[in-house]
C-alpha cells in the first residue's frame, strides 16, 4: 500500500516548529501588554491562528495529506465561522 512509503517527518522539522510556537507564544503575551483597544482580541486570534496552522500543518501532518483532508477541514471551520458570524447578526444589532 502506498501509505507505508508516506513521508516521515524528521525530528528537526518538529523542533523548528516547536521553537516557532514558543516564539509566537512570547509574542502574543507581549502584544497583550499594549493598548490596541478592540484590536487586541483580533491580534490575539491572529497569532493563535498562526500557531494552530503550524500545529495542523506539521505536527498533524496536514501539509502532506491528500486534498480531501484539507478541503473537509476548511469546510468544518467555515461552518463554525458561519455559526459565529450569523449569531452576531442578532447580538450586535439589538435595540
Amino acid at each position: 500500500m502506498p501509505e507505508e512509503h508516506a513521508h516521515i517527518i524528521p525530528y528537526r522539522t518538529f523542533l523548528l516548529v516547536w521553537v516557532a510556537l514558543l516564539v509566537l507564544t512570547g509574542l502574543t503575551i507581549r502584544a497583550a501588554q499594549f493598548h490596541f483597544g478592540a484590536l487586541n482580541v483580533w491580534i490575539a486570534l491572529g497569532i493563535a491562528t498562526l500557531k494552530s496552522s503550524l500545529v495542523v500543518a506539521v505536527f498533524m501532518h496536514m501539509k502532506y495529506e491528500q486534498p480531501l483532508f484539507k478541503l473537509t477541514l476548511l469546510s468544518a471551520l467555515a461552518i463554525l465561522a458561519i455559526f459565529v458570524g450569523m449569531t452576531f447578526l442578532d447580538v450586535l444589532y439589538r435595540s
Binding site: I79, F83, M86, T87, D90, L92, Y93
Partner: protein, 541 residues
C-alpha cells in the same frame, strides 16, 4: 456488472448462526445488516411508544378542560412524545436502519469502514433510550419543558431535565458516529467502477446527511451540557441574573436543530429518489441536479436556524436576514420534486406499495414545505408562531415526509432483507387508511392553528372543539392504518412467500445478490459497469 454466482440458496444468508450464540450473535455483532435490524426494531418500538403518546394527547384534547389527564401530565406527555419521535425515531430512523442495511451493499462493499464503531453507535442509542425512560420515573419525574428544553424553564423546573439532557447527549453521540462512519465508508469503500456519479441517490442522500450529523450535532451536545451545568453546578450562561442571555440558548439549540430537520428529511428524499425510477421503469431525471440539491440543502440548512426565533426578542436585522435566507432553502427541495415528476413522466408506472408511500411523500412534503414558507416569512410567522399551524406544518414534513419515506423504505427493502414478501393488497389498503387519517388529523391542526389555537396547551376555548375532535378522529383512523400496515409487514416478512432476489426490478447492487443477503454481501468484490438506474445495461428491461 460481473459477479460469481452464489451457491444454491439453502441457508438464510446473514441470518445464519452469528459469531456468538443466540441473542449475543446479534447485540455484539459488527455486521452492518444485523446492526441495521437492531436499529430497525429499536426504532420501530420507539415509534410505537411515541405514537401511543400521540394518541393519548389527542384523547386529552377531545374536549376543553381535563379529559383523561391533568395539565402537568399533559406537559410531560407532549415532551416525551417529541423527544421520542425526534431523537429515537426520526433522526436515526432511515440512516441508522436502512442506511446500515442497504448502503454498504449499494456501493459494493462488505461492510462499513468502522464496524465496531457502528455497534457502539447502536449501544449508545440504546443507552440514551434507557436513560430517557429512566428520567420518567426518577428525580422530579418526566420533563415538562417540550422537546426544545428552552431556558429559563428547563434550568428551573423540578422535573428530571438533568437526566434527560444526558440521554440526549448520548443519542447525539450515536448520531455523530453513524455520520462519521458513513462518510468514511462512502469515500473509501466503493467497489471498482462505482464512481461518484454512479452512486445511487439514496447513498448520496446519506452522504449529505452524514455531514450534517458530524458538523451540527456537537453543538446540540454542548447546549444540553450547558443546561445540565446550569442545573447541577449553577453556571448561569443563559441566566440574566448572572449576566447571561436566554436567547443564546435558543441560538445554540437551533444551530443544531434546524440542520437536524435536514438530517430527518434528506434520507427520506433519498429513498424516494431510489424508488421512483424503479417503479417508473425509467432512469432518474436530472441525477446530477438531485445530487447537487442534496448537498445544497445540507449547506443552506445551516444558514437559517433563527427562523425559529422571530418572536424571541432577537434583533430586527437578524429577523430579516434569516427570513430572506429561508426562502433559498426551498429551491433545492423544489428541484427534487420537479426531477421526481419528470422521472415518472412517460414512464411505465407500477403502483406497488413502495411507490404509493413515495408518492405520498412528494405530495405531503410539498404541502408541508409550502406551509413552511408561511412560517419562514417573518411577517406571517408572527401570527402563527407557537400555534397549531406550526404543529401541522412539521407533522406534514416530518411524518408526511420522512415518516412516509420510512414506510416506503420498509416496503421496498425489507423483502430483500428478510427474503419474504408481504400481501401487497393489504399494504395498499393500509396505505390508503393511513393517508386519509393523516390528512384529517393534520389538516385540522393547520386550520385550528390559523384560527389562533396555541400549541402545548392542555386546554382550549370552546370555539376550537369541533376541529380538535375532527383531528382526534383522524388520529384513530391513522392508528388503524398503522396497525394494519405493521401487522401485514410482520406477517409477510416472517411467514410470507419467498420474495426472490429482485422483486421490483431494481438496477442497484442490492438487487443483484440473494434475498436475504449473504453475510459477506458479495462472493467476490463487484465491478460496476453502469449507473444505478440503467435498467437496460443491468439486463432488467
Amino acid at each position: 456488472m460481473s459477479r460469481d454466482l452464489p451457491p444454491a440458496a439453502t441457508g438464510r444468508g446473514f441470518f445464519d448462526e452469528g459469531r456468538y450464540p443466540g441473542i449475543f450473535g446479534w447485540i455484539f455483532s459488527t455486521d452492518h445488516k444485523r446492526i441495521g435490524l437492531l436499529y430497525l426494531w429499536s426504532i420501530g418500538t420507539a415509534f410505537c411508544v411515541g405514537a401511543i403518546l400521540g394518541l393519548l394527547l389527542r384523547l386529552e384534547l377531545w374536549a376543553p378542560g381535563r379529559t383523561i389527564m391533568d395539565a402537568q401530565t399533559y406537559n410531560a406527555a407532549f415532551t416525551l412524545h417529541g423527544v421520542i419521535m425526534i431523537f429515537l425515531f426520526i433522526i436515526p430512523g432511515i440512516p441508522a436502519a436502512f442506511g446500515n442495511l442497504v448502503m454498504p451493499i449499494q456501493i459494493g462493499a462488505r461492510d462499513v469502514a468502522f464496524p465496531r464503531l457502528n455497534l457502539l453507535s447502536w449501544w449508545l442509542y440504546i443507552s440514551g433510550a434507557a436513560l430517557a425512560v429512566t428520567a420518567l420515573f426518577t428525580g422530579g419525574g418526566p420533563p415538562d419543558t417540550g422537546w426544545t428544553f428552552y431556558v429559563p424553564f428547563s434550568t428551573h423546573t423540578s422535573t428530571n431535565v438533568s437526566l434527560a439532557t444526558v440521554a440526549v447527549f448520548l443519542l447525539g453521540f450515536s448520531s455523530i458516529l453513524t455520520g462519521l462512519n458513513f462518510i468514511t465508508t462512502i469515500h473509501r469503500l466503493r467497489a471498482e467502477g462505482m464512481t461518484w456519479m454512479r452512486i445511487p441517490l439514496f447513498t448520496w442522500s446519506l452522504y449529505a446527511t452524514a455531514w450534517i450529523q458530524v458538523l451540527a450535532t456537537p453543538v446540540l451536545g454542548i447546549t444540553v451540557a450547558l443546561v445540565f451545568a446550569e442545573r447541577v453546578i449553577g453556571t448561569g450562561l443563559f441566566d440574566p441574573a448572572q449576566g447571561g442571555d436566554p436567547i443564546m440558548f435558543q441560538h445554540l439549540f437551533w444551530i443544531y436543530s434546524h440542520p437536524a430537520v435536514y438530517i430527518m428529511v434528506l434520507p427520506g428524499m433519498g429513498v424516494v429518489s431510489d424508488i421512483i425510477p424503479v417503479f417508473s421503469r425509467k432512469p432518474a431525471f436530472g441525477y446530477k441536479a438531485i445530487v447537487v440539491s442534496s448537498l445544497a440543502i445540507a449547506f443552506a440548512g445551516s444558514l437559517v436556524w433563527a427562523h425559529h426565533m422571530y418572536t424571541s426578542g432577537m434583533s430586527d436585522t437578524a429577523v430579516m436576514v434569516f427570513s430572506f435566507l429561508t426562502f433559498i432553502v426551498a429551491i433545492p427541495s423544489a428541484i427534487k420534486v420537479f426531477n421526481w415528476l419528470a422521472t415518472m413522466y412517460q414512464g411505465s408506472i407500477l403502483l406497488d406499495p413502495p411507490l404509493l408511500f413515495a408518492l405520498s411523500f412528494i405530495l405531503l412534503f410539498t404541502i408541508g414545505g409550502l406551509t413552511g414558507l408561511v412560517l419562514g416569512s417573518a411577517a406571517t410567522d408572527i401570527h402563527v408562531h407557537d400555534t397549531y399551524f406550526v404543529v401541522g406544518h412539521f407533522h406534514f414534513v416530518m411524518f408526511g415526509g420522512t415518516g412516509m419515506a420510512f414506510f416506503a423504505a420498509m416496503h421496498y427493502w425489507l423483502p430483500k432483507i428478510y427474503g419474504r414478501m408481504y400481501d401487497k393488497i393489504v399494504a395498499t389498503v393500509a396505505w390508503g387508511v393511513i393517508f386519509v387519517g393523516f390528512c384529517v388529523l393534520y389538516l385540522s391542526m393547520k386550520v385550528v392553528g390559523l384560527m389562533g389555537m396555541p400549541r402545548r396547551y392542555w386546554d382550549y376555548v370552546p370555539e376550537f372543539t369541533g376541529l380538535n375532535q375532527l383531528a382526534t378522529i383522524g388520529s384513530w383512523i391513522l392508528a388503524i392504518g398503522l396497525v394494519l400496515m405493521f401487522v401485514n409487514l410482520i406477517r409477510g416478512l416472517f411467514w410470507g412467500p419467498p420474495a426472490g432476489d429482485n422483486p421490483w426490478g431494481g438496477a442497484t447492487l442490492e438487487w443483484q445478490i440473494p434475498s436475504p443477503p449473504p453475510a459477506e454481501n458479495f462472493d467476490s468484490d463487484p465491478v460496476v459497469t453502469h449507473g444505478p438506474y440503467d435498467f437496460k445495461k443491468a439486463g432488467i428491461l
